[in-house]
């Protein structure tokens, strides 16, 4: 089975609130001293791919679209024994919406070859749009299942488990298709072995410019203009929590219980 995993490098979502600032002119977050990391759901996707390969063999390719730094995400995938890695390097620092990302990824995938399963994270920890998977499926003309957390090869097809609001569903699918991967205790990303990290530095990463996949800045402008960020701001936080006081723990619990009961009764 040939699997392609799309990896997005994002600003560390764990950046402490006090360190998080935005540039209102460019309408993007400021990196400051924070690191860039691989989006967690993309790591879940890579983990799912690795587990699938352990169960039923095959190859894994990793693909990223982003600035040169996104190579780090691919190196980590190589350290985890992805078979190949490809970066479509973005020379611009402009915000790229899901439509643009899907356009670029689809063009790169077509050039990379045929894949049985194309995995993307369900959403990214920065913009959290959750659109890329579905848009990519449409660009590639493939079916798609979202919020998948387990993949099992069965016969000539594949059985997926995916999360819903109330539980989960089993989905039988024919290949090829696009899946978006959600997190589950089963696909918590593994960490690479030190030797593999060292080795990964020496492995090749295919580096393509947009022109290598027959896209122009104009193409990206079209998809970019279709959905634009008008404003980005940090909402003000309210800070007026009233702490329940009391002479004893019992008093406090009493007071707390009364407040809760009041709300529950009026709800």
């Amino acid at each position: 089975m040939k699997t392609l995993v799309c990896l997005k490098q994002i600003l560390d979502p764990e950046i402490p609130p006090r360190d998080f600032t935005i540039n209102r002119d460019s309408r993007q977050a400021v990196q400051g001293s924070a690191n860039l990391v691989t989006n967690i759901f993309c790591e879940n996707a890579l983990e799912s791919a690795l587990q699938l390969r352990e169960r039923s063999e095959g190859e894994i390719a990793a693909l990223a679209f982003g600035p040169a730094s996104a190579e780090d995400s691919l190196r980590k995938a190589l350290a985890l024994k992805a078979d190949e890695a490809c970066l479509v390097e973005d020379d611009s620092t402009a915000y790229r919406n899901s439509a643009t990302t899907a356009l670029v990824l689809a063009a790169a995938i077509k050039k990379l070859g045929e894949f049985d399963i194309i995995m993307v994270g369900r959403e990214a920890g920065d913009w959290g749009a959750g659109q890329t998977g579905g848009l990519l499926a449409e660009r590639l003309g493939l079916p798609c299942v979202t919020f998948v957390d387990h993949i099992e090869a069965s016969g000539d097809g594949v059985t997926l488990r995916r999360q819903t609001e109330l539980g989960w569903e089993k989905v039988e699918v024919k290949l090829p298709l696009v899946v978006t991967i959600s997190n589950h205790e089963e696909n918590v990303p593994r960490i690479p072995k030190t030797r593999d990290i060292m080795m990964s530095a020496r492995k090749p990463v295919t580096n393509w410019k947009l022109s290598d996949i027959d896209l122009t800045d104009e193409d990206l402008k079209t998809t970019g203009d279709a959905l634009d960020v008008i404003d980005l701001f940090i909402p003000e936080k309210k800070t007026d929590c009233e702490f329940i006081e009391g002479d004893s723990l019992d008093d406090k619990i009493d007071e707390f219980a009364k407040r809760l009961a009041g709300i529950v009764q009026s709800a």
């Binding site: 998080f20 959290g128 579905g134 609001e165 634009d228 980005l232 909402p235 707390f256 809760l260 709800a267």
Partner: protein, 323 residues
């Protein structure tokens, strides 16, 4: 005057989510059509008709339950006829799944998790929470149709309109593009492991536990507290990732976005990712040993105590108060 279409998934009812979704659509000036996929109860269609100009009940073989490629094909077919400017969907799994794909099929643009909708310069603008709740973005969709799923439950239901809209049943035959892949995927089993009978998104009261609980056993204790308040149980990502509770209990940026009247956070420190899921809760309160925990910044009131000493007596007290 925009041509607005609201799409409902098979099995949809006139619940808080649907009402909120329609309210969000009615906030925009336009001709409002609701597409109901699959069969619907008469009173549901009637309620829908009270909110819209037209209701189309789209029927097709196998459409009584959700199958992604089939529902997508049906929506594509019906929407193509309606030629909408804006297509709105709710925040359930299925709607989230189909939003970008329908946009792709209709040649439009898509977005998710809209918390407010406005029309500016003839375009749809939405606000949505980004960067794990640390920032808000205003996004403009400039291509048609703009396909958006909205955080439906956070919109207050709107009153019925003066006159009821039309109701039409339409049998859809899939062909061409819309028919492809219909056999490629098939949901063969559906499991509901609800923490209660009500969806978290619809819950009026939620009792949530976090990393500080340290294991799955304390969630049992919280269960009796939740039952006392007729509440649903939920958890932070840390608790779900640790496998203490099932993944669908997760509230936060990557879990459920809830809008209860009361949200009780127990041993949850309040990472912004979690806070993002409770932004629409009316009253947030917390029990935590650390008065500096970020969760308290979002609480109307809070209790700085160890939950271990509180939950038992609190449950007893509430039982007496609520009986």
């Amino acid at each position: 005057m925009k041509n607005i279409v609201v799409c409902l998934m098979p099995g949809a009812q006139f619940d808080k989510s649907t009402a909120g979704l329609l309210a969000s659509a009615r906030g925009l000036k336009g001709q409002l059509t609701v597409i109901v996929t699959g069969t619907a109860e008469d009173d549901t269609t009637a309620s829908l008709a009270n909110q819209a100009d037209a209701v189309i009940v789209a029927e097709a073989v196998g459409l009584n339950e959700y199958q992604p490629e089939l529902v997508l094909g049906v929506l594509q077919t019906v929407c193509s006829d309606l030629n909408p400017d804006i297509v709105l969907m709710a925040g359930d799994t299925y709607s989230q799944e189909l939003t970008p794909r329908l946009a792709g099929r209709l040649g439009g643009v898509s977005a998710g998790d809209a918390q407010s909708l406005t029309l500016e310069n003839d375009n749809l603008r939405i606000t949505r929470s980004v960067y794990g709740g640390k920032a808000m973005a205003v996004v403009e969709l400039r291509s048609t149709p703009a396909v958006v799923w909205v955080r439906a439950r956070s919109f207050a239901p709107a009153a019925p309109r003066d006159s009821s809209g039309s109701i039409e049943k339409r049998t859809v035959e899939l062909s061409g593009d819309a028919a492809k892949h219909v056999d490629a995927t098939k949901i063969v089993e559906r499991h509901e492991e609800s923490s209660g009978t009500v969806r978290l998104e619809d819950a009026m009261v939620i009792v949530a536990g976090g990393r500080g609980l340290g294991g799955s056993e304390p969630f049992e204790e919280l269960k009796s507290l939740a039952e006392t308040m007729n509440a649903q149980q939920a958890a932070s990502r840390a608790a779900c990732d640790a496998g203490w509770v099932p993944p669908h209990w997760q509230v936060g940026q990557t879990g459920k976005k809830v809008a209860p009247e009361l949200y009780v956070a127990i041993a949850i420190s309040g990472a912004s990712q979690h806070l993002m899921g409770i932004a629409d809760a009316k009253v947030v309160t917390a029990i935590n040993t650390d008065s500096d925990a970020p969760i308290f910044k979002h609480c109307q009131f809070g209790l700085v105590e160890d939950y271990k000493a509180v939950v038992g007596p609190l449950t007893e007290r509430l039982k007496a108060l609520l009986s």
